[in-house]
Symmetry: C2
Amino acid sequence: MSKDYVVGVDIGGQTAKIGIVNKKGDILARKVISTKFEDANEFITLLGKTIREMAQDAGIAMDDINGVGVGAPDGNYYTGDIVEATNLMWAKGKTVHFANELSKMLGGQPVTITNDANAAAIGEMKYGAAKKMKNFIEITLGTGVGSGIVVDGKLVYGHDGFAGELGHTCAIKNGRACGCGQKGCLEAYCSATGVARTAKEMLEKSDRPSLLREYKDITSKDVFDAAEKGDEMAKEIFEYTGKVMGEKFADFIPFSAPEAIILFGGLTHAKDYFMEYLVDAMNENVVFLWKGKVKVLVSALNESDAAILGASALAW
Amino acid sequence: MSKDYVVGVDIGGQTAKIGIVNKKGDILARKVISTKFEDANEFITLLGKTIREMAQDAGIAMDDINGVGVGAPDGNYYTGDIVEATNLMWAKGKTVHFANELSKMLGGQPVTITNDANAAAIGEMKYGAAKKMKNFIEITLGTGVGSGIVVDGKLVYGHDGFAGELGHTCAIKNGRACGCGQKGCLEAYCSATGVARTAKEMLEKSDRPSLLREYKDITSKDVFDAAEKGDEMAKEIFEYTGKVMGEKFADFIPFSAPEAIILFGGLTHAKDYFMEYLVDAMNENVVFLWKGKVKVLVSALNESDAAILGASALAW
């Protein structure tokens, strides 16, 4: 009995992406389910059922699966728990014994979990822009801002398994309230929701004309679309986002001296509107040792694949 | 021929401390020399000569020495160079091929170098407060502010060997000019010189009476002495120093999730005046995952021994 397959699960604020992966890294089957449940058990039950069905449909016996790797916000590698994940309704303000529960649902199948950004970093290292790198930082720009830090070829988990929460370092002192309860977090500015907040603030501050005034509940996608149409305010929103990111990245570099910082996630589609400002602000603010020396790259991976593959790599 | 000894050298802005160390970690001979030279070669020549003399006096043949480990500001583990060390006259604005030159001076003896804070962290892990820790951050509070970061039991050197320069992350946006060329660095506030600068600023800002008005060129030692005599302004200076440190430490924790942050160096003598403020500010500003969970300790090592032992550990 050879265990030739693993399952990779990428859990986000809206959906979970599930893949069955072979040893070469081919995704043989994939499925997307909603994560918008109030109750953790409901979601875990659906996830377990979906994995069983996918295996059956692909003609793979559960016994041939080596394990399940999960990337989830606030997922803890050491304990297998998801802890107070602000972007998941069913894990807000509580601890969910996720790996344990999912394992039970799958007849004792081993389940390994880490935060979604760590999973992306592993995917990047195995299949993406960090293939030959031993020191880099993966920054995920999605609903929130996450990070996976690789030092000397290994993920940094820290004493308690929660290392790599750079989205909750302080970008603007006494700045915007963040979902985590602190003020001025990087996530409050440079996530998709952060970009939308910047848009709302800029619109309120002046009467300048902008295509964005036509939208009711502005999203970062709306800002991107407006920028594509040449809207000046939309461009300034990304300029500001880039500057805030660059200034903060300047603070990350002296910690682990990465070869590169790699950006991952939806917001990278707008890279042409923020990258220049990001790199300039980073080099202006970083101590001389690293001025002009740290690359800022955009992930070389297909977004959904990276997260699935990264998560699945945990299960080998 | 068994190589039973190593040499540890701790290079600081004022002096270098040299020790010959056996396998048990006993310092068999020690000597202090000045580092105040204009020319790097002059210093390296004196250091080489001193090591030879110390070995001779201790009855140890140079052939019985396994190597020399050096902790120095801006020392690079990968290249053996000291690069633009602002606190060393002979390495300011230039690259000194230190390990290479010292090795030549010692007849080809292997020389390994790292920054002084990394050496202290290694000492702390082998002999001090971090003996059982696999994840901690050592912060050195001396003429400058340095750091040695240990992740999963290993020093973080990063892509280029310079990782762990937390003294040059930004504590106060657009704040004081730092020797490195940036503004608002942690070092500009929480080093011995930073404390003296805070004192001067506070004295200038008001006419409040203070014992510190009696000093001409205030040092951090003067501030400590005044605090010991009950001087209110001196106490406030340390309170401010503690707050700035704590706020910035809150930003370090999400990176590597350390079990503890360990303070090392001269300024720790004043811990009773700043520790409470430091811990409060840290816990107030860190994201919920780590509130009240990260210990702040003072090094358990005799200051000069730690650095010598840490540096010497590099040479085994």
